[in-house]
């Protein structure tokens, strides 16, 4: 009886989350095995693995997987490298450090659609954009970013958004650095680079792993930035797996094929998730 009330308090959260997980998953599995187009009412025949074959042999699929990995990999590398550099740069006091922190973190709180359009129009427009003007100032030919380098443009937007996140995590981790150890190493004549190599980076190792995994999970399905700027194009040049699934579902209305793709995306995300869950789990035991 003493355990009854606490158990009941868990029910709403566990119950809703269970439904949230199991209902869409069950439906997705079911849809992936039938022929189901929203525009063609009628019988939903069982088609076995046809939807998977269709999705996986679609020429766009291969491009989408490559794009997903390039996008994810580039953003992770950029944000971790610059994030560590920024965190080290502002780790020690200097005039205006408080303001710098506030300005640096802001991009993370900008909603993705604002971020995307700000870059697409005001920064990257080939005629009026700030970058075009800058290029002209140096005598270069302005670049039509969205058309000629669509995936790169998306990488810039997403990195701009996630660099503050990485920086913030690394800054937080640096606060627990052992200052006496740093001081001692300085007394012993260690250079700053040596300190970075042997003290700072090992200390940051764990948070770097966390940032990589969290970004992997969130950036596997970048959507709003692509939706509002390039629309996946030109062609499939900036289509990732998430956007391809969206296209199948809500532009082609092919629920069956989209569901097959969704299952693929879930498997992909779970690979990254397993590592993160392990790491967090270890932390929970302490």
């Amino acid at each position: 009886m003493k355990r009854f009330v606490p158990r009941m308090l868990l029910v709403p959260a566990v119950g809703t989350l269970f439904l949230w997980m199991i209902v869409p998953l069950a439906m997705t599995i079911y849809f992936s095995l039938i022929s189901y187009n929203l525009m063609e009412p009628g019988d939903h025949d069982f088609v076995g693995l046809d939807n998977f074959t269709f999705f996986l042999t679609d020429p766009s699929f291969y491009t989408a997987v490559i794009n997903t990995l390039v996008l994810l990999g580039s953003v992770v590398v950029l944000t971790v490298l610059f994030g560590v550099a920024m965190a080290l740069l502002i780790d020690q006091p200097f005039p205006g450090r408080g303001i710098v922190r506030v300005l640096l973190i802001s991009p993370f709180f900008v909603m993705p659609t604002v971020n995307a359009l700000m870059w697409k129009h005001m920064m990257m427009n080939p005629i009026y954009g700030v970058l075009a003007q800058l290029w002209k100032l140096f005598g270069a030919t302005p670049v039509d970013w969205m058309t000629d380098h669509p995936l790169f443009s998306v990488i810039v937007m997403v990195s701009w958004q996630w660099l503050p996140f990485a920086t913030l995590i690394f800054m937080t981790a640096l606060q627990s650095m052992n200052r006496e150890q740093l001081e001692a190493s300085r007394m012993d004549g260690a250079t700053y680079l040596q300190q970075v190599r042997y003290l700072y980076l090992p200390h940051l190792g764990r948070s770097i792993a966390v940032v990589i995994m969290i970004e992997a999970i969130f950036l596997m399905s970048v959507f709003a930035e692509i939706f509002t700027t390039t629309g996946g194009g030109p062609g499939d040049a900036s289509t990732n797996v998430a956007f391809l699934i969206f296209k199948e579902a809500l532009l082609n209305f092919d629920v069956g094929v989209a569901s097959a793709g969704a299952l693929f995306a879930v498997v992909l995300a779970n690979i990254a998730a397993i590592f993160l869950i392990r790491l967090v789990g270890k932390n929970l035991d302490r």
Binding site: A13, M27, T28, Q92, V110, M111, A242, A273
Partner: protein, 279 residues
């Protein structure tokens, strides 16, 4: 940040570091700063070549944003969906976190890890079934649907953050109250509440930011009726009209409050987004 700062000794390294830090920061902040400036230009000034830096600021964009599209409706949708989903989420998450923090059982750890794993599911994986369900139940483009979705997708973060807050409260306080004959309700109301208000507030703040900025579901499930600001801004993507000044004004209004709240919830962000793996 507010730790006692010893007087800085001016040295070449300090000067170099200051210049470098400020330079990089201004480069990173530039797009956002430019957006703020553009919001106060006329449309003609906004696309002038070379870019205008000195100009007479105008407020007309903020008025026209309302005329061009029903801005206030979208703002209300954003406000309602994010606030209600946050409150609803807290109401569901707090009892669960309380139960797990104060009545630990062998299953607690597994429940927590399982909740974490639901957050790892990519949203696009659930897009098709949620869309089909919404369509058949007539909930497509309603605030109710967005509220439910935002609540569910933030629930794991809420439970985790509240759990880690509750865990730090010494059990003795609650046991003492129980000894004195307090009922469970009194115990929560008079002893626990004052202690956890801070945790509830900071958790709520973070989830408010996350719900406000949510774009995947609002773009796919809402449009004219229940569309949030994220969806409204997306409608400015058409290349035909270059309404940069209005886009900037609309964007500035949409992000300003939440960026400010974001500054205050930095610590919660680190804790919530990393599920306590970085402290």
């Amino acid at each position: 940040m507010s730790s006692s700062t010893p007087p800085l000794r001016v040295s070449p390294t300090l000067v170099a570091r200051t210049i470098a830090a400020w330079f990089v920061t201004l480069v990173i902040f530039f797009p956002l700063g430019w957006l703020i400036v553009t919001a106060f230009k006329t449309e003609l000034q906004a696309i002038s070549v070379p870019p205008l830096v000195v100009f007479k600021p105008t407020l007309e964009n903020f008025v026209e944003v309302q005329d061009r599209s029903n801005y206030l409706l979208f703002a209300a949708n954003s406000l309602i969906t994010s606030v209600v989903s946050t409150l609803l989420g807290l109401a569901i998450a707090a009892p669960a976190a309380y139960s797990m923090a104060f009545f630990r059982s062998p299953g607690t750890r597994r429940v927590l890890m399982w909740m974490l794993s639901t957050k790892m599911m990519p949203a696009v994986g659930a897009l098709v079934p949620i869309y089909v369900l919404a369509q058949t139940t007539g909930l497509l483009d309603t605030r109710l649907l967005l509220i439910v979705i935002f609540t569910l997708s933030n629930l794991p973060i809420m439970v985790w953050m509240l759990y880690s807050h509750f865990k730090d409260i010494p059990h003795e306080i609650l046991e003492a109250a129980r000894m004195d004959g307090a009922t469970l309700w009194q115990e929560c109301r008079q002893v626990l509440m004052p202690l956890v208000m801070g945790g509830l507030a900071s958790t709520g703040l973070l989830c408010l930011v996350l719900a406000w900025n949510e774009a995947f579901w609002s773009l796919n499930l809402s449009s004219a009726k229940a569309g949030t600001l994220a969806a409204l801004i997306a409608s400015y993507s058409s290349p035909e009209g270059l309404f940069w000044a209005k886009l900037s004004a609309a964007s500035l209004l949409a992000i300003a409050p939440i960026v400010v709240i974001g500054w205050f919830s930095q610590k919660q962000l680190v804790q919530g987004m990393t599920f306590g793996a970085v402290k």
